[in-house]
Symmetry: C2
Subunit: 247 residues, 2 copies
DNA sequence: CTCCGGATTTGATCTGTGTCAAGGAAAGCT
DNA sequence: AGCTTTCCTTGACACAGATCAAATCCGGAG
């Protein structure tokens, strides 16, 4: 998952999507092309980046902050269907209108690419298409993992799963070794967590308290979380503890 | 969604994956390449096509029948994460081992492609990569739609959603107009439906009976379902009734 | 420093779905 | 035809999580 995409690749070291996104193998001329069609936008916490049904003028890559993808039913029931951390990609090439509402959960900076030229670039640059395919397949796997969480896990397991997933992403980004304790600021309200997990905010609050009481997590204030033992958390989440060893 | 991929494209009219899959724009030499690396396999209902963790020797396309993708927790809780109907694609290029267990829900015929040469073909044939990207994005949307079902809908709405999704696929395949009543054989056991919906088989049974009593569906035997009014069913599913009209 | 409003916690109660249990119906086999 | 097996239905009851309600916490504005 953490590939050998040396972030220090010279040609595109300033490109915000270098980690996982389209310009993994940037060459100079492609970078120039990217530079031509890209621009940055900032959003403050709580702001809506794009409404479901809006005409989509750009696709983008998250540079910093956390954004969410949500779907809403007529009567207001909401389900988060994606959590976008730095380096994640937003938007679907070839599609005119947005399918989901994109919201900034914290202050967010995005690197936007005008959609039309971006589509053109995909069509003409095979390795970008491949990279995008790879990323989409990763997202599909994540969505499917989430289906198990939503369909079959208890409230406590759901919370543990969410914290474990975010914890691992953070640990990856900051090169933590497994075994070390991990501390991070959770940039989601209890309500956002509930929307992600298919729970109510009250249940989220109760289960977070329970995990804290049982020493699975340590809370400093409301949002700053320390995971003393990742293995323990993953057991609580109901994940295989044997880190992927298969017979 | 139903694209203008004339199924009668001469060059690949006998290719089982012509509808949505990689050879949408087959040219003669590519077809030859496909012919070289593909073969057919049949599976009988209930048979496991591939276990999670198995080495993946092929990717494939469903020719006929219904297959399922499932994930299982250590204690046996199961969640279906994909329902594969004819023309759907199975397997992830570039990945050595299968992530999910693939099971034949009914008798199934698959068109298999040896993985290595298939990967090679993707690398060398841009439009195949694009087609695969398109298909993967469709699957991602389907998975996200399913997250809303799993996270926020009631048991009754879940059943209605499943029937509506299958009904629409069937209607598409057989060129039914909307407004007509649709009849089809549901090729899933109550248990498989439960695994898909994050319910127990008893709850599925009860809610199917309830929908039948209320005239939303008509049952002939256990499996043969008629949907007299698709609009009504979609209301029951909690979907927007205005077929996607956005201001 | 104090006040205010959103975020969070906690409590009491209700309810939809799970669990356990017992039959029933259809399909295949001898 | 009778038996077995698998799938499905229905009932009674339990419980996890939702709902309703009320404090409490905390950061920012004044």
């Amino acid at each position: 998952m953490t590939q050998s995409l040396a972030p220090e690749t010279k040609d595109c070291s300033d490109c915000p999507i270098r980690h996982r996104a389209v310009c993994a193998k940037c060459e100079t001329d492609e970078l120039a092309l990217l530079e031509d069609i890209k621009y940055y936008r900032s959003f403050s916490a709580g702001q809506t980046v794009m409404w479901a049904g809006d005409r989509m003028e750009f696709v983008a890559s998250v540079v910093s902050g956390v954004a969410t993808l949500t779907q809403t039913m007529e009567d207001g029931r909401r389900q988060m269907v994606g959590l976008l951390l730095p380096s994640d990609f937003v938007g679907r090439p070839q599609r005119e209108t947005a399918t989901y509402t994109v919201t900034a959960a914290s202050d967010v900076v995005m690197c936007c690419f005008r959609r039309k030229p971006f589509e053109h670039m995909i069509a003409n640059t095979p390795h970008i298409a491949h990279r995008l395919l790879e990323m989409t397949l990763d997202e599909l796997d994540a969505a499917r993992e989430w289906m198990l969480v939503l369909g079959r896990k208890t409230a406590r397991e759901k919370i543990a799963s969410l914290l474990s997933i975010i914890g691992r992403r953070i640990a990856d980004l900051s090169d933590k070794k497994s075994g070390q304790s991990i501390t991070f600021d959770l940039m989601l309200t209890r309500e956002a967590m509930a929307d992600y997990l298919g729970l109510t905010l009250e249940t989220v609050s109760r289960q977070v308290s329970a995990l804290k009481k049982d020493g699975v997590i340590v809370l400093e204030g409301k949002r700053n979380i320390t995971i003393p033992d990742m293995r323990r958390l993953m057991e609580e989440a109901g994940d295989d503890s044997d880190g992927g060893l298969l017979f």
